[in-house]
Every structure is written in C-alpha cells, then in structure tokens.
C-alpha cells in the first residue's frame, strides 16, 4: 500500500519535473487542497456526510423516535411529525416504527403513537445517558456549551448500561444536567421540578433560573450570548407581547418572548430567599471600590470552579481591583493578600456585594 503511494507520488513528481510550469502546479495544489477540504471538513465534509447517510443505524432511529415520544407525551404524534422532527426518510421511520411495535415499545392509540411501559423505560434510559453525558462534558472537558448537546446526542446511542453506571459514579450520581434538567436515576426516578417559563412571570415577580433549554439551538445560542446564567435570581420589569425585560445580578436583560420561553424559572415567594438587590457580578466592580464575595454562579463548573475556590473566591472574601489591564482584560483582583488576574468570562460568574 505504502509502496504504491510512493510510486504514484514519484510518478507525479517525475511528470512535474519534465513538464514543470508554476501556474499549473499552483492550480493543481489549489484544486487538491479544495478537494481535501471538501472531503474532510469536520462534521460537514463529504466523507462525514457519506458515512452518515449510509449508516442509518436502526438502533439510533428507534432510540430517536423513543425520545420524541417521551418529550412530546402531550402531543398527538404521527409519522409525519416524526419525519419532520427527526429528518429521516419516511421509509426509515416506518420500518423503525414497525420494529418498535413488534417489540412492544409503542402502540397505536387512535392513529397516534404512544409509548408502552417498556418503551417509556427505554426512553428514560436514553434520556438518562444523554443528560449524564452533558454533565460529563460540562464538568470534565473543555467543550463549549453549545457543543454539549450534539456530542451527547451521538454518545447516547453508543453507551451501554454498564458504561452509563460508570459515568454516573464518576460524576457522583448527579441529579441535574448542566441545563438544569433532572437526570433520571438508574431505577428511573426523576427529580421533580416546579418551574414555569420566564415569559409567564408577571411584572415584579422574582424567580430563580433553573433551566435553560438547549433546543432549538438558534435560541439557545442567543441566550448564551446574553450571558444569562442558571441559578441567577431575576426580577421581571416588563412583560408584553414584544419583549420580556428583567433585572438580574446588577444588569438588565431584554429578550423576545419566544426566547424567554426557553428559560424556566422557579418563582420565589419566600422573602428570605430573595437576594439583596445590591448583589452584582464581579465585572461591575470599579477600581477603588471594595466588595464582599457572595458566591460563584452555577455556570462556573468543573476545574474552573474549583480553581476559583482554591484561589480564595469564597463567600465572605474581600475583593478589590488592584490592576487594570492595558487591553481591558484580564483584571488583577486583590483578594486575601494576593493579586489574582481573572478574565471577564470568569469574573462574570462571581457574585459580589459592593461595600
């Protein structure tokens, strides 16, 4: 094989030597790099597309259908719905459904598909693996938030029950995924959460963000761009058909209702739980001011969070700005006797109360 490649390259070189022309060789180079790029582009390359279109694994189809049925248990699900939602061809969906009926995972109820008990258990398992993976990606890797869902979507089909157990143990049997969704236990127990969409809150109501939906991706990316964090307290300032405005951690956020609908909030009624209005993000600290650290947002995870705690950014610590950067970031914060430089994306996740 290798010898063959060497011979081919040799031959090409020989040809080029005798009919060398810089224009041609540059053209050959450009064309061949374009071909290589088209073929091997990550996630969009032709090779990738080819591999994926031929490899419609039945298991994956079935598991994807199960998830759709699980997540949309209130809707009436038809084949058309599944084709639209999953993007598989009709024939693939139909043969998948046939298999599922054979193995008692779904049944027909007035022309709509419903999960059997067995199907429901299977779906819960898939959801569990998906959310465990998201948690893993958040805690133990450096992948960007926006990529967690896609990777988990692939991994959920490749992980067997033992591996899922191991993953859960490694993560300390977490209860929630990084978006705030509950992770079912191995026995299928799911923590209850009592939440309503942010767009459903009335003016003046106070709540705590407990979930940010990562689906659809376009809306999720908009929310990420706003630096809205899970665990933050919010207070609604304005809520109408064109926009939802709320106050949180010293800043005002303005979202379209459809975007706000993807943020789930737990309403705080108990006066004691409601945070002081003076709690702001560390980025709001100005040179010359001092503040007390209130805590670190839930959005800071894994090693980064631990590192911040180790460095002394714990509740009650005094903090002030020691050095501003010629470029604006990172900023040197004076904390517990030492100057520690943090980037803005870290400082955004530290909550303080100014003196």
């Amino acid at each position: 094989m290798l010898i063959f490649v060497v011979i081919v390259i040799d031959y090409l070189l020989f040809m080029m030597m005798y009919s060398y022309n810089p224009v041609y060789s540059l053209l050959i180079f450009i064309v061949s790099s374009m071909i290589i790029y088209l073929f091997f582009r990550p996630n969009k390359g032709l090779t990738w597309l080819l591999l994926n279109s031929y490899k419609v694994d039945e298991k994956i189809v079935i598991e994807d259908i199960l998830k759709q049925l699980y997540h949309n248990s209130n809707n009436n699900i038809t084949t058309n719905f599944l084709v639209n939602a999953l993007g598989y061809k009709d024939a693939v969906i139909i043969s998948g459904i046939d298999k599922m009926i054979d193995s008692d995972l779904v049944y027909f109820d007035n022309d709509f598909f419903k999960l059997t008990e067995e199907g429901f258990d299977y779906a819960v398992k898939i959801v569990r693996v998906h959310r465990l993976w998201e948690r893993y990606l958040a805690e133990k890797t450096g992948f960007d938030k926006a990529e967690w869902h896609g990777i988990a979507e692939r991994k959920e089909h490749e992980t067997n029950e033992d591996e899922a157990m191991e993953l859960a143990t490694q993560l300390g049997n977490p209860i929630f995924d990084p978006h705030g969704d509950p992770i079912p236990t191995s026995t299928g127990k799911i923590a209850e959460i009592d939440s309503i969409p942010l767009s459903g809150l009335a003016i003046g109501e106070v709540g705590k963000i407990i979930n940010i939906d990562d689906n659809p991706e376009i809306i999720y990316k908009q929310i990420l761009a706003e630096n809205i964090h899970i665990g933050s307290q919010i207070k609604i300032l304005e809520n109408n058909s064109t926009r939802v405005t709320f106050y949180s951690e010293g800043e005002e956020f303005r979202l379209a209702p459809i975007v706000a609908g993807n943020i789930k909030v737990f309403i705080l009624k108990n006066q004691e739980e409601i945070q002081d209005k003076s709690i702001v993000r560390l980025t709001a600290l100005n040179p010359g001011e001092t503040a007390i650290v209130e805590g670190i947002s839930k959005e800071s995870r894994g090693d980064s969070r631990r590192r911040l705690l180790d460095l002394g950014f714990v509740r009650g610590a005094k903090v002030s700005i020691d050095l501003v950067n010629p470029f604006g970031e990172p900023t040197g914060y004076y904390i517990k006797g030492t100057t520690i430089a943090l980037r803005d994306d870290q400082a955004l996740k530290i909550l303080i109360k100014k003196d």
Binding site: D303, N325, F327, L342
Partner: protein, 472 residues
C-alpha cells in the same frame, strides 16, 4: 479486609452524596477558608493597613497603557541582543579550542595508534566534530540567555508580561503565560517546552507546547542573519543592505509569531477543543533575585540539561553525516544519491536536494544545518573548499560562503525559502524528545513534529510558484 464492608462503605458514600447534593465541594472550600479566617484573626497581632505597596507602584508602570509595551519590547530586545551579540566571542573561542586545538591533537593521536582512516574519520570527523560544533554554538548563547531570563523570572516581572499580553492570547484560545514560553523559545525551543509547566490548564499547555517551535530559536537566528546578509541585503543598494537584511530577519521572526497565534487558534478550535481549559494568573510580589544563585542554578538546571540532550543526539547525527558522505553505492556516495533523488521535489518547493538532506540529517540541532549544507554543496559540485567529504565546515568570510552557495545553484528564491523553511520545519530532535517527555503522548509529539513540516512545505511551495510566475 472484608470486601463486602468496603463495598458497603462506598455505597453509603454514594447515598450520602446524593443526599447532600451538589454543593459539597463549595461548602467544604468555604468552610476551610472560614476556619482559616478565624485562626488568622487570633494569630495576627498587628497588620499595617496599607502595606508598603511598592509592588503596586511598579505594577502600575509595567502594566500601564503607555509604558507597558515599550518596557516589554525593550527588555526582550535587550535580552535577545545580548544573547546573539554576546555569544559571538565565546563561541569563536570555544570553536577555536575544540576544533582548532583539540581536533588536530585527536587526529595525530589516532594516526599515532595506527587507526585506519575510516575509523578515525568516522570518530573524529563525524561524531567528535558534530558534538564539538553543537557545544561551541549552543553553549554560549544559552549560558547568556537562560540566566538573564531566569533573573527576570525570579524578580517577578514575567508574570506581568503574561498579564499584559493575555488578551491577545485569549483571542487565539491560548494562555497569557504562553508569551513567556514563546520568549523562552527564542532562546531554545526545548527549554520553551519545559517552561510550559507554568501553564496549569491542560488545553493551553498543549497549545503552548505544539506552537513553541514557531519561535525562532538560537540555533536558527544565525542562519537567518547569514542568508539575509548574503542574498536579501545584496538586492538593494549597499548603503541600505544592513537595514534591509535586518528587517528581513525581523520579518521572519514576526511571521513566526503570526503562525504561533494562527496555529494556537486553529488547534483550540479543532483538535484540542475538548481538553479542559481553566485560567488563573497569580501576580506574585516582586522579590530581589538571589543573583549568583540564580545564575548558577539556571546554568545547571536549564543550560546544561538542554546541552546534554543536544550532545546525545548530535553524536549519532555526526556519524550519519560522515557515513552518507563517505559510503559509496556504485560510483556515488549515498549522500549524492539521496540528493539526486530529492532534487526534483526540492526544486518544486524552491529548495534543492542538498538543503532537504541537510535538514534531514541535521535534525539534532539547527546549528549544524548551514555547515552541513556547505559540506554537501561542496561534495556534489566538486568545489575545492572545506576539508573533504563528511566534514562539516563554516567559513569566516561571508563572501566565500556566498560563492559556495551560488555555485550550488542558490538564488534569492532559494534563500527566502530556506529562511522560511528554517522557521517552519520539524523541531530539532532535542525538542521532539522534550515534547514527548512533557506530554507523555506519542500523538501530540507526532502532531508537534509533523504540523510545522506540512506548513513549511506548503508555504515554500506557494512562495516558489508565485515567485516564478511573477519572475517570468
């Protein structure tokens, strides 16, 4: 001990973990600091409110918008200038001693004991020459550069450089401390790779390791200066040639920095995006360095270790260089065959077979690339220069060197491409070995080795084609 009881303990731990929830770590960390605060409250009797924050005053200057960057470039410039200029004299002395004084003694010793020519050639002209060469050219610059750098490090200035530049590095997915490992790379890439230990975030550390090679190291500065003087300085009027060749060398170094940023960015977006990334940068107080101790330890810890590794690799390379030039297959030496074979490919990327072979056999140290090129050029052209097949040499006269290279078919394009290829090729074997030691991964070592070669081939190829299209 009873396996079941232990299983039970672990199961209990898991159950408790579920019960106390996600905040265990936070609570523990806060608890420890709360205890610490109480103890300190007890123990500290007096505390000056505003401690003499002289540090802060220095910091305000070295990180200021106006002075921060000029100070930084000034210091780096001084360090590099002292290294390159200051090393000339001791290098010449060492070279005179090891090559001029010792080598003849060895030679006469060898003939005295009746050593056959091939054995003495192999040992003295091959192994000894390469080792002596590497010592003569590597030791002085490193013995100047490392202590200077270490003094700055111990004083506490370098973390401020990381602080000043972090924003630029963040944009390309890297850590501000990479500014330091990069500068260290200007001295020696192997040392730069070791220095990446200061970066405690896995992803950024790998980026710094893989891209360190884009810092033009001590072994490559002289190559750049020589070629720029001979070929680039010569295209402009003599009055400007000094300035222009200096600018060309500077341009190559800046191009290296550009590639460093670009590759850092690309790696962080592709291969390395899943590696854990954290950031923290402590700005420690300034402390007067322990001058003599620092000099002593930096020579012991950094210079000699790197030098030793280079020697270990130089010896077999010297042997290889001598052997390929002296062993014949048919009517030609092995070197001549390989050069003939590589000439075609070399031509396409604007180089030649001699240069490619020199880069292959001189992998232990960039310092011996030019001597090898000169020797091989003489070998294939049959010129009268040097000391014969397989004996590397260098000439004091720039004009004589130019004559040999031009006889070897060099043009301005060849020189430009060698300068580019000197920047963009595999790290020297010492660095490759160091990368493996530091990453403990064959995969990253391979990537760090292959990536710059591919870039070098692409860049020289494109430059050669465009040059020829324009020239015609």
């Amino acid at each position: 001990m009873d396996k079941i009881t232990i299983k039970n303990i672990i199961a209990l731990a898991e159950e408790l973990r579920w019960k106390i929830g996600d905040d265990f770590h936070d609570n523990l960390a806060e608890g420890i600091y709360a205890d610490a605060a109480e103890i300190v409250e007890d123990a500290i009797i007096s505390k000056s409110n505003k401690t003499a924050r002289l540090d802060n005053k220095i910091d305000r200057i070295v990180t200021s918008r106006v002075w921060g960057f000029p100070i930084m470039f000034f210091i780096l410039g001084i360090v590099l200038w002292l290294t390159i200029q200051g090393a000339n004299y001791p290098s010449a002395m060492l070279s005179d001693f090891l090559l001029g004084d010792i080598r003849p003694v060895l030679k006469s010793l060898a003939s005295g004991v009746g050593m056959p020519w091939w054995l003495s050639g192999f040992l003295i002209n091959g192994v000894y020459l390469a080792v002596a060469w590497v010592i003569a050219v590597m030791l002085p610059p490193m013995a100047i550069f490392f202590p200077l750098f270490t003094l700055l490090e111990d004083f506490g200035y370098l973390p401020r450089v990381a602080f000043n530049l972090d924003y630029l590095f963040k944009k390309s997915g890297a850590h501000g401390k990479q500014a330091l490992t990069m500068s260290m790379g200007f001295g020696c890439n192997a040392a730069g790779v070791v220095a990446t230990r200061i970066i405690d975030s896995p992803r950024e550390r790998l980026i710094a390791i893989i891209t360190n090679n884009f810092s033009l190291c001590n072994g490559r500065w002289p190559t750049q200066i020589l070629l720029a003087t001979i070929f680039i300085g010569a295209v402009v009027p003599a009055s400007m040639s000094g300035m222009v060749s200096l600018a060309a060398v500077f341009g190559i170094a800046v191009l290296g920095i550009f590639f460093m940023f670009f590759v850092s960015w690309a790696l962080s977006k592709t291969l390395l995006k899943g590696e854990v990334s954290t950031f923290n940068l402590e700005l420690p107080p300034y402390r007067p360095p322990n001058f003599w101790q620092t000099i002593y330890t930096s020579i012991i810890d950094r210079t000699l270790i790197v030098l030793w590794r280079a020697i270990v690799f130089a010896a077999p390379a010297g042997a290889a260089i001598w052997l390929i030039s002296n062993l014949n297959i048919g009517d030609q030496s092995i070197a001549a065959w390989i050069i003939q074979y590589l000439d075609g490919f070399g031509f396409i990327i604007g180089l030649n077979g001699v240069i490619l072979l020199a880069y292959i056999v001189a992998i232990p140290a960039n310092e011996i690339v030019i001597p090898t090129i000169l020797m091989l050029t003489v070998l294939v052209t049959g010129m009268q220069a040097g000391e014969g097949a397989g004996v590397m040499f260098e000439l004091d006269s720039v004009n004589d060197t130019a004559a040999i290279l031009k006889a070897g078919g060099w043009t301005v394009l060849t020189a430009i491409n060698v300068m580019l290829f000197s920047l963009l090729h595999n790290p020297c074997s010492t660095t490759i070995y160091t990368i493996y030691k530091e990453t403990k991964s064959k995969k990253w070592t391979l990537i760090a080795t292959i990536l710059p070669i591919i870039m070098g081939l692409v860049v020289t190829f494109v430059v050669a084609q465009i040059w020829r299209i324009i020239a015609n």
